[in-house]
C-alpha cells in the first residue's frame, strides 16, 4: 500500500506493522522482529507503533469538537476550603468537584463541599453556579440535602457546603434491605414530596436518577435525600457515570432516565414535567428492579436511534416486564420480601397505570405535579381509586370490595355489595371524573391552540431565556440591588428591539413582554407600559382574538395601569381578561384565578370592599379546589383575603385565616422557610393590633433569631423583620429594647442598603421617635435632622416619608418652645402632605392639628383657629 508523498522510512515501518496487524496478536511481534533482523532502529520504531496501536482502542475516537470548552484537570484536593477541612474527593462533573469535608466550628459535622473546577471560573459558569446555590438555599425539605454555607476559594472559585449524606443510591438501598413494595413506595413518596417542594420554589432537577437520590438512615428510619438538586442545570454529568459515546458524537446525560422532550431535537421546553417522567422511571425501577428500556440494548444503538426510542417507543408495563422476562420476576422477588406471584399481582393494575401515566410521552398526559403523582400512589396504598386509570365499573367495584373487605363476608353479601357498591361508587367517581374531564378538555383545547404559537414562540423563549438569565436576572430587587449596568443593558435592549426582529412580530412581542416585566419590577411603569403596549399591538396583528398570548398581553398592560393607579383603565381590561380566560382555560385554571385576584385587588385599592370580597373569596375557593390548600398561590390568596377582611372589620376571620396560612406554611415549607417567617411576622403584627403583644413579641423574636441563624446577621432580608420586631417591642412598652433593636437595624440597613435608602431613612425616623419618647431628646433631634437632610437629598422634598419626618420635627420643636422653626417645619410638612394626599387626608389633618397646638402655645390663637379648621375640628 503506497501513499503518495509519504516519507520512505515511514512507508516501510507502516507496511511492516500493517502486515503484522493481519496476524493474530501473539504472532505480530515475532513477525516484526524477523523482518527487521538487521535494522535495530527500524525494529524499535515498528514495535513502538505496534504497541501504540494495540494499546489504545479509543485514542482520538471522540471527535475534537467534543473537547472544546472542557475544563482543565484538577490537582490534588486542597487541604481546606473556606475553613472546612477537605477529607477526600467524592465525585466530579464537567464543571464542579465534590469533596467530603468536615466542619469543626461551631459544630462538628461531616459536610459535602462542591467547588467550581479550575479554569472554569468564567462569568457564565460562576453565574450559573451561583444561581444553583441560591436555588438550594431556597429549599428546605427533609428529602433534599440542605445547604449550609457558601463562599469563594482564595483563587476566586465559588464553592458551597452541603449536608453530607451518608447513604446508598435508593435502588441499591431497597435491594440490599430487601424492601417490600409498600416500603419502596413509602420511600418513593418522600422523593415525590422533595421534588414537589423544589418545583414549588422553581427548581427543576432534570437529572433525577437513583445515583442522585441517596437513602440515609435518620434515627433508624430510611430517609431519601435528593443530592445535586438543580445542579444538573449547572454541572454536567459526573464522569464516574457511564457516559454514552456514539460514532457521531457524544451524548451527555443518562439516556435511561431522559424524558422524550429532553431527547427531542430542539431541547427546548423542558419543564417540571420532565422530572415527573424521571420519577416514573424511578418508580418503574424500584418496582421491577429493571429499567424500562434495557440499558445494554439502548447503548448498542446509534445516537439517533436511542433518541427515537425515547421519543416514540412505549416500554412494557411493569407487570408485563416482570411476567414476560422469565427469570426476572424471580430475580426481582429475590431482592425483596415479596414472593414472585404476589409481586406480580401487586404491580398489575394501579401501579402499572401510575407508572405509565408518569412516563407518558406527551407531557400533558403525565401527572401535572409531583404531588399529584404522590397523591395517586397514596390512593393506591389506601385502597382508593387512582386517577391514573379510567374508572370502569368493574375496577371501581373491585376497589370498593377490597376497601370494605370486612363487610363482604358471604357470597350473597358480595353480590349485594357489588351491585350497591358499583352503583354508588361509580356515581361518585363519575361526577368527579366529569369535573376532571372538563378541566382536562379545556386544558387540551387551550394546549392545542397554544401548539402553533408554541413552535414560533420557541425562538422567542430562547431569546427571553437569554435576556432573563444573562442580562436581567440581577434586577430582582428582592435578591439584589439594581446597578447601573443592568439599566444600561435594558436601555440598549429597548432601543434595539424595534429593529432586531423585522419579520418576527411574535418574537418581538415576547422580548418586549420580558422587557416590560423587568421595568415593572423596577417600578419604571412608563417604560414598562410602552413595551407592553407595543407587544399588545404586535400580537393583535398576528393572533386570533382568543389567543392566550394576546390575552396575556392585555393582562400585562392592565397590571401597569393598576400600578399607576389608573383604575378606570385597568378594570375593564381585567374583566375582559378574566372572562376570556374563564371561557378558554376554565374557571379553575391558574391564569383565570390570577386575573380574578387582580380584579379583586383593584376594587380593594379603590375602597370597594364589598365587591372585592366576592371575587377574593371565589379566588381562594378556586385555588383550594384546584390546587390544594398548600399551594403557594392558595396561601397568597389566603393572605389577600385576610387583609381585606381585616380592613372590613372582620378581624376574627382575618386572624383565623392568617393562622391557617401560617400553619400550612410551617407544615409544608418548614418553620425556617422565608415564606413561613414572613407569615409569622404578618400574624404577629395582626396580634399587635389585637393587643396580644406578648404573643406577638415571642413570634417576632423567633423570626428574628431564625433569620440570623439561617441567612446571617448582616443580611438585608433581616431589615424588615428586625424593624417589625422593634415596632412590637415599642408597642409592648419596652422602649429601651426597641431603641436597641432599631439601632442594630439601622446599622445593618446603612451598611447593606446604604444610608440614603428609603428603608434606612424610615428606620432612622422610628429610632428618633423612640429616643424622643424615652426623653433622650437631644439624640432624637440629631437623628431627625440627619434623617430630614438625607430625605431631601435622596427621595426629594415631595415624599410622604419627608412629610412625616417634618411633622414629627415640627411637633418636637414646638414642645421645646422653638415656635418659629416649628411653624416652618410644619408648613412644609403640610404642603407635602396635601400635595400628595389632599387636604382631607388623615395625615394632612394631623399636621394641621399639630400646627394649631404650636400656635396656641406661641400665643397666636387666631392663626391657631384657622389651622384647627383645616384639621377638621
Amino acid at each position: 500500500m503506497t501513499t503518495p508523498g509519504a516519507d520512505e522510512r515511514w512507508e516501510r515501518v507502516r507496511s511492516l506493522v500493517e502486515h503484522a496487524m493481519d496476524e493474530p496478536p501473539r504472532g505480530r511481534e515475532r513477525l516484526i522482529r524477523e523482518s527487521c533482523a538487521d535494522d535495530e532502529e527500524m525494529l524499535q520504531e515498528a514495535l513502538g507503533l505496534l504497541r501504540s496501536i494495540e494499546s489504545n482502542e479509543s485514542f482520538l475516537e471522540t471527535p475534537a469538537i467534543a473537547y472544546a470548552g472542557r475544563p482543565v484537570p484538577e490537582g490534588p484536593p486542597p487541604e481546606e476550603i473556606g475553613g472546612y477541612r477537605v477529607l477526600r474527593e467524592i465525585g466530579r462533573g464537567g464543571m464542579g468537584i465534590v469533596y467530603e469535608g468536615e466542619q469543626r466550628e461551631p459544630i462538628r459535622r461531616a459536610v459535602a463541599i462542591k467547588v467550581v473546577r479550575h479554569g472554569l471560573e468564567t462569568k457564565e459558569i460562576v453565574g450559573r453556579f451561583d444561581a444553583e446555590r441560591q436555588a438550594l438555599a431556597m429549599m428546605n425539605h427533609s428529602s433534599i440535602a440542605r445547604i449550609f454555607d457558601a463562599g469563594a476559594t482564595p483563587d476566586g472559585r465559588p464553592f458551597f457546603v452541603m449536608e453530607f449524606v451518608k447513604g446508598a443510591p435508593i435502588n441499591e438501598y431497597c435491594d440490599a434491605k430487601r424492601l417490600a413494595v409498600r416500603e419502596r413506595l413509602d420511600l418513593f413518596l418522600a422523593v415525590c414530596d422533595g421534588v414537589q417542594h423544589a418545583h414549588r420554589v422553581g427548581v427543576i432537577h432534570r437529572d433525577l436518577k437513583p445515583s442522585n437520590i441517596l437513602v440515609a438512615e435518620v434515627d433508624g428510619r430510611p430517609t431519601p435525600k435528593i443530592i445535586d438538586f438543580g445542579v444538573a442545570k449547572a454541572l454536567h454529568q459526573p464522569l464516574t457515570e457511564k457516559t454514552l459515546v456514539t460514532e457521531q458524537g457524544r451524548l451527555l446525560g443518562t439516556p435511561e432516565y431522559m424524558s422524550p422532550e429532553q431527547a427531542s431535537a430542539d431541547g427546548l421546553g423542558v419543564d417540571t414535567r420532565t422530572d415527573i417522567y424521571s420519577l416514573g422511571v424511578l418508580l418503574y425501577e424500584l418496582l421491577v428492579g429493571e429499567l424500562p428500556f434495557e440499558p445494554e440494548t439502548l447503548r448498542q444503538r446509534g445516537l439517533a436511534e436511542i433518541l427515537r426510542i425515547l421519543r416514540e417507543e412505549d416500554p412494557p408495563k411493569p407487570s408485563t416486564r416482570l411476567s414476560g422476562a422469565g427469570d426476572s420476576s424471580a430475580i426481582a422477588s429475590r431482592r425483596r420480601a415479596d414472593d414472585a406471584g404476589s409481586l406480580l399481582r401487586e404491580l398489575r393494575g394501579d401501579l402499572d397505570w401510575i407508572t405509565m401515566r408518569a412516563m407518558e410521552k406527551e407531557r400533558d398526559r403525565r401527572y401535572g405535579t409531583a404531588s399529584e403523582l404522590g397523591a395517586d400512589v397514596r390512593r393506591h396504598l389506601a385502597g382508593e381509586a387512582v386517577v391514573a386509570r379510567p374508572p370502569t365499573a368493574a375496577y371501581l367495584t373491585r376497589k370498593f370490595v377490597r376497601r370494605n373487605r370486612a363487610l363482604v363476608s358471604g357470597a350473597l353479601a358480595v353480590g349485594v355489595v357489588l351491585v350497591v357498591g358499583a352503583g354508588a361508587t361509580s356515581w361518585q367517581a363519575i361526577s368527579a371524573t366529569r369535573a376532571r374531564d372538563r378541566a382536562l378538555e379545556a386544558e387540551s383545547l387551550a394546549e392545542a391552540r397554544l401548539a402553533d404559537a408554541e413552535r414560533e414562540a420557541a425562538v422567542a423563549r430562547a431569546i427571553n431565556d437569554f435576556l432573563n438569565r444573562d442580562l436581567l436576572a440581577s434586577v430582582n430587587p428582592r435578591t439584589g440591588g439594581i446597578d447601573t449596568t443592568v439599566r444600561q443593558v435594558l436601555e440598549t435592549a429597548s432601543e434595539r428591539v424595534g429593529e432586531r426582529f423585522p419579520d418576527q412580530a411574535l418574537v418581538e412581542a415576547s422580548v418586549r413582554t420580558t422587557l416590560g416585566e423587568t421595568y415593572r419590577t423596577l417600578g419604571e411603569y412608563e417604560a414598562a407600559e410602552a413595551h407592553f403596549e407595543r407587544a399588545l399591538e404586535l400580537r393583535a396583528s398576528e393572533l386570533d382574538a382568543d389567543d392566550i398570548d394576546l390575552i396575556m398581553a392585555r393582562f400585562n398592560l392592565a397590571t401597569i395601569y393598576e400600578k399607576q393607579e389608573r383604575f378606570a383603565l385597568a378594570e375593564p381590561v381585567y374583566l375582559e381578561v378574566y372572562e376570556a380566560r374563564q371561557r378558554l382555560l376554565g374557571p379553575d385554571a391558574r391564569p383565570t384565578l390570577i386575573s380574578a385576584n387582580n380584579l379583586a385587588t383593584l376594587m380593594h385599592s379603590q375602597g370597594r370592599l364589598d365587591e372585592s370580597i366576592v371575587y377574593m373569596r371565589a379566588v381562594h375557593e378556586g385555588f383550594v379546589r384546584a390546587y390544594g390548600e398548600s399551594d403557594r398561590q392558595t396561601l397568597n390568596s389566603i393572605q389577600n383575603l385576610a387583609n381585606l377582611l381585616d380592613e372590613m372589620g372582620e378581624t376574627e376571620e382575618a386572624t383565623r385565616l392568617l393562622e391557617q396560612a401560617l400553619a400550612i406554611s410551617e407544615r409544608e415549607l418548614g418553620p425556617d422557610h422565608p415564606d413561613t417567617l414572613m407569615r409569622t411576622s404578618l400574624l404577629a403584627m395582626q396580634y399587635v393590633d389585637l393587643g396580644r403583644t406578648a404573643e406577638a413579641l415571642g413570634m417576632m423574636q423567633r423570626v428574628v433569631d431564625t433569620q440570623a441563624e439561617v441567612i446571617g446577621e448582616d443580611h438585608p432580608s433581616r431589615i424588615s423583620a428586625l424593624s417589625n420586631f422593634a415596632g412590637v417591642l415599642a408597642a409592648s412598652g419596652d422602649r429601651e429594647r426597641a431603641i436597641g433593636v432599631y439601632t442594630e437595624t439601622l446599622a445593618v440597613s446603612q451598611r447593606r442598603l446604604g444610608p440614603d435608602h428609603s428603608y434606612t431613612l424610615a428606620i432612622q425616623g422610628n429610632l428618633s421617635t423612640q429616643l424622643w419618647e424615652v426623653g433622650r431628646r437631644d439624640e432624637a433631634l440629631t437623628e431627625r435632622e440627619d434623617q430630614i437632610r438625607r430625605l431631601r437629598g435622596s427621595l426629594g422634598a415631595r415624599h410622604n416619608l419627608t412629610g412625616s419626618a417634618l411633622n414629627w420635627y415640627g411637633r418636637w420643636l414646638g414642645v421645646l418652645g422653638r415656635s418659629d422653626e416649628a411653624v416652618d417645619a410644619l408648613e412644609e410638612a403640610y404642603a407635602i402632605r396635601t400635595a400628595l394626599n389632599g387636604a382631607e387626608d388623615r395625615r394632612s389633618r394631623q399636621v394641621a392639628r399639630d400646627m394649631a397646638r404650636v400656635l396656641d402655645r406661641a400665643g397666636r390663637p387666631d392663626e391657631a383657629e384657622a389651622w384647627r379648621a383645616r384639621a377638621g375640628g
Binding site: L49, I65, L239, A263
Partner: protein, 197 residues
Amino acid sequence: MAEESPITRDLRAMQSGSEEAERRVFDLVYRELHEMAERQLAGERRGHTLQATALVNEAYLKLAAQDSADWAGRDQFLAVASIVMRRVLIDHARSRAAQKRGAGAAPARLIVDVVDGAAERGVDLVEVHEALERFERIDPRAARVVEMRFFGGLPMEKIAALIGVSKETVKRDWVMARGWLRTELGESGERDDDAGR
C-alpha cells in the same frame, strides 16, 4: 432554475483549480463555522454536545441556501469544512489557553471521557494539531483522514468517497495515523492524570 449562490459558484471554480475561489470559500466557511461554534460553546446546552457534522451541515445549508440540492458541491464543501473546523477548534483552544494564562491558571489541557467509566484521559487539541502538522509531512493522506475524522467529524464512508480510496484503506490510514500520533504525543505509557480510578 434558481440562481447559483456565490458559494456554489466558488466551490465549482475551486474544483477547476481557482485558488482565489478556494480562499474565498475558506474565509466564508471559517467565519460561519467560527461564529456558530462560539455561539454553541457559549450556550453549552446540556445534552447537545457539539457535533461537527451538524455544525457543518448547518453552515452549508445557510451558505448555500438557494440551491442546496447540489450534492456534488456539498461534498466539496465537506472537504473544505473539515480543514476549517480544525482551524476553528484550534483557534478556540488557543484563545482559551491564552485566557487562562492571563488569569494565571494552569495551561489548557482538555479532557475526554471514555466509554464505561474507564480512566479519563487528557488530550490537548493544540498538541494533536501540531503533531498532525508533522505527520502531514510523512503521510499526507493518512493525516488528511485524521483531519476529516477527528476534526471534521466525518464518517469513514464519506472520507473514502471524498479522498477517492476504499473504505478499507481509510480504516488502515486511521489506525496507523493514530498509532503514530499516540507515540509522537508520548502517550503510549500509562497515564491517568485525572480522575483515574
